[in-house]
Symmetry: C2
Subunit: 506 residues, 2 copies
Amino acid sequence: MSNKAQGKPKKTAIRVTREADFPKWYQEVIKEADMAENSGVRGCMVIKPWGFGIWENLQRRLDQRIRETGHQNCYFPLFIPLELIEKEAAHVEGFAKEMAVVTHHRLVAKDGKLVPDGELESPLVVRPTSETMIGESFAKWVRSYRDLPVMINQWANVVRWEMRPRLFLRTSEFLWQEGHTAHATETEAREETATMLEEYRALAEDWLAVPVIPGEKSESERFPGAVETHTIEAMMQDGKALQAGTSHYLGQNFAHAADIKFQDKDGGESFCHTTSWGVSTRMIGAVIMTHGDDDGLRVPPAIAPHQIIILPIARDDKAAARVLPAADELAAKLNNNVAFGNVVRAYVDKREVNAGEKRWSWIKKGAPIIVELGPRDLDQGTVMVTKRTDIYGKESQETDAFVANVVEQLESIQKTLFEEAKAYRDARIRTDITNFNDFKAYFATDDLTSSGFVRAYWGESPESEELLKEIAVTVRCLPYDQPAEPGTCVITGNPATKVAIFAKSY
Amino acid sequence: MSNKAQGKPKKTAIRVTREADFPKWYQEVIKEADMAENSGVRGCMVIKPWGFGIWENLQRRLDQRIRETGHQNCYFPLFIPLELIEKEAAHVEGFAKEMAVVTHHRLVAKDGKLVPDGELESPLVVRPTSETMIGESFAKWVRSYRDLPVMINQWANVVRWEMRPRLFLRTSEFLWQEGHTAHATETEAREETATMLEEYRALAEDWLAVPVIPGEKSESERFPGAVETHTIEAMMQDGKALQAGTSHYLGQNFAHAADIKFQDKDGGESFCHTTSWGVSTRMIGAVIMTHGDDDGLRVPPAIAPHQIIILPIARDDKAAARVLPAADELAAKLNNNVAFGNVVRAYVDKREVNAGEKRWSWIKKGAPIIVELGPRDLDQGTVMVTKRTDIYGKESQETDAFVANVVEQLESIQKTLFEEAKAYRDARIRTDITNFNDFKAYFATDDLTSSGFVRAYWGESPESEELLKEIAVTVRCLPYDQPAEPGTCVITGNPATKVAIFAKSY
């Protein structure tokens, strides 16, 4: 799959290779890297420390940028009254099929069994997203142009009932942030939508090392109730697209529904222009399917819960007495550096498990750097370094030099992961397909060595999207990067002015 | 109420004084400080930036300590299957009356109205706490003594249906952290319970400047399913107690219910000993009712979203051109310091609102230090400083000295708030009441200048707790600090070996 796959030894740490069965490989990596597992509640996952640590590092970075771009964090209720969610017609239509509904507020024993009791006068929906709830607050908060813009964000769990759940990618409950803003003018609201999509692009590319294509969604793929939806689209190693974050210009739709109006400078009354934007734990799925290999996960250093694993190698107590304190000392020295704006995260694994098993556990988890430290290394003043971007060679480095260059090495790994992923993706974007027969033939195969995206002219007609549906392909976005010249639609052959990205998708 | 109340001007920023109507004063402070508001869903609150910022600062500190004491963050599902929650009998009995129940997974239109549809085979409960859910995972994760201890934590929302909701104090949905651990031995589990209660004590006292009494709960006040519940109890300014955090030793009760067993070193099989512990957004209520005064909130600097507010004073554009950049520069200088382990948080309020209104808005919000900066101050190289611990005097300070001493001044405010609260509390703990008549007479009055806690011998009999119920008083805890000598129970007159803290409570 990735370039370095050539010449790789046959035995892999993940039982099922990407090539053999990509979906199964994905599940195996999550299990072997101990990131998450299914719970007893269908579609709801348990996120374990290694998976949650990645989310926390993503969160820290994004939260900082959300603040730096002028937003404040709040918290809004988990439950939404039916009457509220009904107010925006397109919105409720989009979410009605997947909403968890609370109908009772207690349990009572009946014939030795607990049953729901205390029926609510009106049912409550568990939030699938909070535009309607937050709109209610905005309507109260905004009186005059002086109150604008309102720019808030919340980190929360949301629920969208999922019939075919997959860890991180499609779960009935997931974690996300949702930003919501209200502005006096359309221009400002559109600027906000663009600003936050650019933040998501930077988060994906600079932080998760996941290359993305930013662009606008087609009408049929818009957020229910939005005027425009903007997206970043990533390519997974099976050539499928994953929508990794979206930013919506909602126009005045939700402002009309919730009555968010303000008195302008001239005393007139206007409705606000609102936006919303979110990224979720789905991003972790994107990291796995972008960077994982047949030995497990590879975590970009910027988001790795531990960036450097130190494995003390000691056959007996005497050796341990030398090696363990040296390992702690090395960790302390490493953690004295700053990489990616935060203190370096080195961790000494002191578990009583044999060295080989330990090492492979961290390779499967994808820790960026693994350092082995035994008595002979101490004698020589060296450490044995394994980098997860290239696990098949160990390299002896002088300890002082290793410490002095650790930030550089982490940055280099981060860069390598991004460039590898970008080269992989770019090689799989076909730009030479110009008719629907070739197009269909291309998407008829699931061959992982060739499938991917098609970039081609598209006439934006509803009929053409119908034709796409038949072959399970979707318009991922109209990328911002557009040609100057018009062309002909790859599906209908009609004149077209824009190019789109087409792909199968998650 | 507080010592400095004497000689205070009659006009207060909060319409209703503490003395006139404490509950109403509480609601008014929350409103005037713009911390939170009720939502359209009964019992569910909207936490606004000033309230949420306090929570985030509390979270940051506690999260750091939770990691430093060896725990890892995870995330577990929002929903719990009925079958699971039924497994621990005392547990389900304790929570059955207040659980939100999800019964359907979609909505459909029927006669022009949306109604719940897609009934679940078995209803799901929205987590009121996660012992049962996390126990399921522990049972899977733990095989041998090598897997122990398991020490995890999650930051989450929980729901306990509330008939008489009050912002922050009793809300149907609230935010909290819940720690859960499993250990091989009772000793270890009891140590963990004690360690985390001590962390909560330190959080309350060192971070929120809220003095607390740590101790053990009586049997009737235990967490449903626990063997022992430990608590920190704070006194509000109306003399009532507020339980600010709890840590439970669960024995093997939940281990039996969820089948959490392990193979020990000798090959035998044992059940784990588990613990759980939590603090919630209720803590914010404690901060308000401990530190607020008749002019609004006073926020301890350690948790203040902004620690220093800079108000540029400029009557015209010319003055503004001088003052605004100087204000930004001052903020930058202040933010170059570290207080309470974090970068100092100074904020320039540039809103187009008149200076007096601005100043009072921050006094009501309780920002620890307010700095006014006008052209004359710039000429003199001074700033006009108001400290929220003593708002009735402004003090001119040389700018350089103010910057140089800002950390010390913040620390001093933090200390003053704690000492003031502690003196207030200590003066209201009666230790001289020895019989039930005096006891009843003491609790018969709601006079805010005298009501409070009683510390007295207690025989721990169920009958005595029945007598307490009649006068709406509870045993808050058996404090760790116990006398050497036995005595007689203040309620029954029977012999007693321990003293308890008695109070009315939230």
